[in-house]
C-alpha cells in the first residue's frame, strides 16, 4: 500500500533498451536533414554565407539594436516581477514535487551550461578591451577601468540570466505543471492551444534544434582553436586543424560518455567536478594575485553596477551617434537570446521541484553573483597589472584572447599550476556545454521525452562533434555561428510572446478553474425516476436491513 499519492515524475516509465528509438518523426528527420544540408552548403560556399549573415547581423545591429535592448530589459523586469509576485509560490511539478537534484548539483549544472567556457576567456579579455577602447571614459584611465568592469558586468550579469530564467521557467512550468511535452512548442499552448502539436509546433521545434546544434557545434569548433592556441603557448605543440580535430574528438568522446551515462551519472557529476575545478582556479588566482585589490574591487564593482544599471541597460548611443554597441551590447544580447532555447531547456530539465521564487533566486541571482566574482578576480587582476604593474595584458588580448589568459597567469607565482588547472577547466567546460547541448537536442527531437533512448543520445552527441570538425576543416564555422546569432532578432520577438504566454498560463493555473464537458451527441433523452439506494452504505441502513431480514427469519446481512 503506497503512503503517498504518486505525482508526476521525470523518470522514464519503463526501462528502455539501448537501441530503442523514440523520435518525433518530423522534428528529428527534418532537423537532421537541414543540419546536414546546411553544413554541406556552407562548406562549399562559406565565404558567401559568411558575407550574407554578416550583412544580416550588421543590419540587425543598426536597425533593430534598440529592439534587442528593449526586449532584454522587458524580460528582466518580467522575471523580477515574477520573483516578488503572487506566482512565486507555485512549485514546478506540483505542490508535492520534490527537487530532483541537490542545491550544489543544481547550481553546478546551471552554471556549467549557462556560461561556461566564454566566461573563462572573456573574464580577462572583455575588461581589457573596454579599458583600452572605452566608449564612456578616457581610455587607459582608472575611470576607464571602472567603466570596463561595469560594461562587462552588464553583458554577463542579470540580463542574460533573466533570459535564461524566463525561457527555463516557461518550459518547466508548461511541462511539469501542465503535462505538456518538454519542448519549446509547449510554451505557446495558452496562445496556440492544440495547434502546438501541428505544423506550427513542428517548425518551432525544428528551428530550436537547428539553432542549438549550430550554436553548440560552432562554439566547440571555434573554442578548440582557442584551446589549441593556449596549449601551443604553454607547451609549444603547434597549431593545426588536425590537432584541433583531435581535441574535438576527445571532447566529443567525453561528452558522449556523459550524455550516455545520463543526467544524474554523467552530466551532473561532470558539472560538479567542473565547478569544483573552477572554484579551485578562482581561489588560487585570488590568493596568488592582487588579493586586496580584487577584494576591494568586488564590492565596488557591484555597487557601481547597481547604480548605473538603469542608465547602461537602456543606453542606445542615441546622442553619441556611434556604433560601439553593434559589436558589443547588441552582439551579446543577440548571442544570449540565440542560446536561450538550449540553456533554458537544460535549466528546465534540472529544475523539477523548485518553486518559482527558488527558481528565479537560483537562476538569476546566484549565477550572476558567481559570474561577478569570477570577472572581478580575473578582470581586476588583469586591470591591476595594466594600471599598477608591468602591463602587456591589454596588448596580448588584442592579438590572441586565450593566450592573454595564460599571460595573466605568468604575472603570478606558480604559473605552471594555474595554467595547467586552467586547461583542465577549459576542457571540462567544453564537455559540459557539449553534453548539455546534446541532451537538449535529444529531448526536443524525441517529442519532449525528458529521458530519450540511448541510441538517440549517442547520435546527437556524435553529430555535434562531426559538424564541428567538418566545419573546422572545410570552413564555415564563423558563417554558421553568425547565422545562429542572427536568429536572436526573430527569437527576441518570440521571447516577448513567451512572457505573455507564461503570464497567461500562470494566471490560469492560479486562478479559478473548473470542469467543462465539451459539446456531445445527446441522442435520446431518458426519463429520471425515483429509485432506492440499492447498495447499502456503511452504517445504519445496512444495520437496519440486516435486522429486519433476520427478524423475518431470512438470511441476514446486507452485501
Amino acid at each position: 500500500m503506497s503512503e503517498t499519492v504518486p505525482q508526476h515524475t521525470t523518470e522514464p516509465e519503463e526501462e528502455q533498451k539501448w537501441y530503442s528509438i523514440d523520435v518525433h518523426p518530423y522534428v528529428f528527420f527534418i532537423s537532421a536533414a537541414i543540419i546536414l544540408a546546411s553544413v554541406g552548403f556552407t562548406i562549399i560556399n562559406h565565404e558567401d554565407v559568411l558575407q550574407l549573415f554578416e550583412r544580416i547581423q550588421l543590419g540587425i545591429a543598426e536597425l533593430a539594436g534598440w529592439f534587442l535592448v528593449l526586449t532584454m530589459n522587458v524580460i528582466l523586469v518580467f522575471v523580477l516581477a515574477l520573483l516578488v509576485g503572487r506566482y512565486g509560490d507555485v512549485r514546478l511539478g506540483g505542490e508535492y514535487a520534490e527537487p530532483e537534484f541537490t542545491m550544489r548539483a543544481w547550481f553546478a549544472m546551471l552554471f556549467s551550461a549557462g556560461m561556461g567556457i566564454g566566461l573563462l576567456f572573456y573574464g580577462v579579455a572583455e575588461p581589457m578591451f573596454h579599458f583600452v577602447a572605452s566608449p564612456l571614459a578616457e581610455p587607459g584611465t582608472p575611470d576607464a577601468a571602472r567603466v570596463a568592469m561595469d560594461l562587462t558586468f552588464l553583458h554577463w550579469g542579470l540580463h542574460p540570466w533573466a533570459v535564461y530564467s524566463m525561457v527555463g521557467l516557461s518550459l518547466a512550468f508548461f511541462c511539469f505543471n501542465k503535462g505538456l511535452p518538454l519542448s519549446i512548442r509547449s510554451v505557446f499552448y495558452p496562445v496556440l492551444g492544440e495547434r502546438i502539436y501541428g505544423p506550427v509546433g513542428n517548425v518551432i521545434d525544428i528551428l530550436a534544434t537547428v539553432a542549438t546544434l549550430f550554436g553548440v557545434a560552432t562554439s566547440l569548433g571555434l573554442g578548440v582553436q582557442q584551446v589549441n592556441a593556449g596549449l601551443d603557448h604553454l607547451f609549444g605543440i603547434g597549431q593545426s586543424p588536425w590537432i584541433q580535430v583531435a581535441l574535438i574528438t576527445g571532447i566529443t568522446l567525453l561528452a558522449t560518455w556523459s550524455v550516455a551515462a545520463g543526467l544524474n551519472a554523467g552530466i551532473r557529476r561532470l558539472s560538479e567536478i567542473n565547478l569544483l575545478l573552477a572554484v579551485l582556479l578562482l581561489v588560487f588566482v585570488l590568493i596568488v594575485g592582487p588579493t586586496l585589490f580584487v577584494l576591494n574591487a568586488f564590492g565596488e564593482n557591484i555597487g557601481y553596477y547597481i547604480q548605473s544599471l538603469p542608465r547602461l541597460a537602456t543606453w542606445n548611443e542615441t546622442y553619441e551617434a556611434t556604433t560601439w554597441q553593434h559589436g558589443w551590447t547588441v552582439f551579446y544580447w543577440g548571442w544570449w537570446i540565440a542560446w536561450s532555447p538550449f540553456v533554458g531547456m537544460f535549466i528546465a530539465r534540472v529544475s523539477y521541484g523548485r518553486t518559482i521564487r527558488q527558481f528565479i533566486l537560483g537562476v538569476l541571482f546566484v549565477p550572476t553573483l558567481i559570474t561577478f566574482l569570477w570577472v572581478t578576480v580575473f578582470g581586476n587582476s588583469a586591470l591591476n597589472i595594466e594600471l599598477l604593474g608591468a602591463g602587456g595584458i591589454a596588448e596580448a588580448v588584442q592579438e590572441n584572447i586565450p593566450v592573454a589568459l595564460f599571460l595573466l597567469f605568468e604575472n603570478f607565482p606558480f604559473a605552471e599550476v594555474t595554467s595547467g588547472l586552467a586547461v583542465l577547466v577549459i576542457i571540462t567546460f567544453f564537455v559540459t556545454s557539449s553534453d548539455s547541448g546534446s541532451m537538449v537536442i535529444d529531448i526536443i527531437t524525441a517529442g519532449g521525452n525528458p529521458d530519450p533512448p540511448l541510441l538517440q543520445r549517442l547520435f546527437w552527441a556524435i553529430l555535434e562533434g562531426v559538424v564541428a570538425a567538418t566545419l573546422l576543416v572545410g570552413g564555415g564555422l564563423v558563417a554558421l555561428q553568425t547565422a545562429a546569432i542572427a536568429t536572436g532578432l526573430p527569437f527576441a520577438a518570440v521571447l516577448l510572446f513567451m512572457c505573455y504566454s507564461l503570464r497567461k498560463g500562470l494566471a490560469q493555473y492560479s486562478g479559478p478553474q473548473g470542469f467543462k464537458l465539451p459539446p456531445y451527441e445527446h441522442g435520446r433523452r431518458l426519463r429520471t425516476t425515483v429509485s432506492y439506494p440499492t447498495p447499502p452504505t456503511f452504517g445504519r441502513r445496512r444495520f437496519l436491513i440486516g435486522r429486519k431480514k433476520r427478524s423475518r427469519g431470512e438470511s441476514g446481512g446486507a452485501q
Binding site: 504518486p6 439506494p533 447498495p535 456503511f538
Partner: protein
C-alpha cells in the same frame, strides 16, 4: 473557501445511473478526475459486473443560479468500468465513446499531507434517488484518519452524508484537491463486524471516505498522468 472549491468541482460531479429501458435509475455520484474522460466513484455502486444494463452519467444543471429540483429527462453519457478495486471500494470509469473534458490543473491531492482537523468539502447528489437532482456541498473537518483491519486508509468527517452522496468527492479546502471518495454514513459496528451486537444501534452523524490514493493507483494502472 467552500465557495471556491464548489465552483471548481461542481462541473466534475455527475449522477451515476443505470439505464433501464427508457428510464435511468440513479445509483450514486461519480466525479471527473482526468481530461481524457475518466471518473472515480465507489465500487459498490457498480454491482458485481453481471448486470446487462448500461452505466451512464449525467451532469447537473449548472445553467441556472437556482436550479430546478428535478431534471425530468437527461441526456446521459455512457461509461464503462476501466479499473475497479473492490477491496478498497473504488472504481475508475471511462466515457465510452471517449470524451475529452476541460479540467483544472490540480485535481488529486495527497491525503497523507494534511492534519486531522483540516477543513474539507463533501460533494454529491445527496437526494437524487428521490429525484432531487442538485449537487449538494457540505463543509466538514477531517475528524480522524483511520486504517481498517484490511489495511485500507479512510477518513472520518464530522458531517452526515446521504445515500446519494456515495461515490462523491471529498475535497481538502486548503489546496482544493480531492482527497477521498465518499462511502456513506459511518457506523462503528461496520468496522468491528465480529464484535458488535446486532441489537445495539450506534447512530453517528459522521461519514466515511476512502483515501483517494486508491483511485490514483487505478489511474496509474490505466496509464494516466496524475495532475
Amino acid at each position: 473557501m467552500v465557495q471556491s472549491a464548489m465552483w471548481k468541482f461542481r462541473g466534475s460531479c455527475m449522477m451515476l445511473m443505470r439505464r433501464e429501458g427508457k428510464q435511468v435509475v440513479y445509483l450514486g455520484t461519480a466525479f471527473v478526475v482526468h481530461r481524457d474522460g475518466y471518473l472515480l466513484t465507489a465500487a459498490r455502486l457498480i454491482g458485481d459486473g453481471t448486470e446487462t444494463s448500461e452505466l451512464v452519467v449525467a451532469p447537473a444543471d449548472l445553467e441556472h443560479t437556482f436550479a430546478p429540483i428535478t431534471i425530468e429527462t437527461v441526456a446521459p453519457l455512457p461509461v464503462v468500468v476501466a479499473q475497479i478495486d473492490r477491496q478498497r471500494d473504488v472504481a475508475l470509469l471511462r466515457f465510452d465513446p471517449p470524451l475529452e473534458v476541460v479540467v483544472p490543473d490540480r485535481i488529486i491531492g495527497n491525503p497523507t499531507a494534511y492534519f486531522d482537523g483540516s477543513s474539507v468539502m463533501a460533494l454529491g447528489f445527496s437526494f437524487a434517488h428521490y429525484r432531487i437532482h442538485n449537487p449538494i456541498a457540505r463543509s466538514a473537518v477531517i475528524s480522524a484518519r483511520i486504517c481498517t483491519d484490511d489495511g485500507t486508509n479512510m477518513m472520518l468527517i464530522d458531517r452526515r452524508v446521504h445515500d446519494g452522496d456515495v461515490g462523491g468527492l471529498l475535497v481538502c479546502l486548503e489546496d482544493e484537491r480531492v482527497i477521498g471518495v465518499l462511502l456513506g454514513r459511518f457506523d462503528p459496528s461496520d468496522l468491528r463486524k465480529d464484535e458488535h451486537r446486532d441489537d445495539v444501534q450506534i447512530i453517528t452523524v459522521m461519514s466515511l471516505a476512502v483515501s483517494v490514493e486508491y483511485g490514483a493507483a487505478l489511474m496509474q494502472a490505466e496509464g494516466l498522468t496524475i495532475a
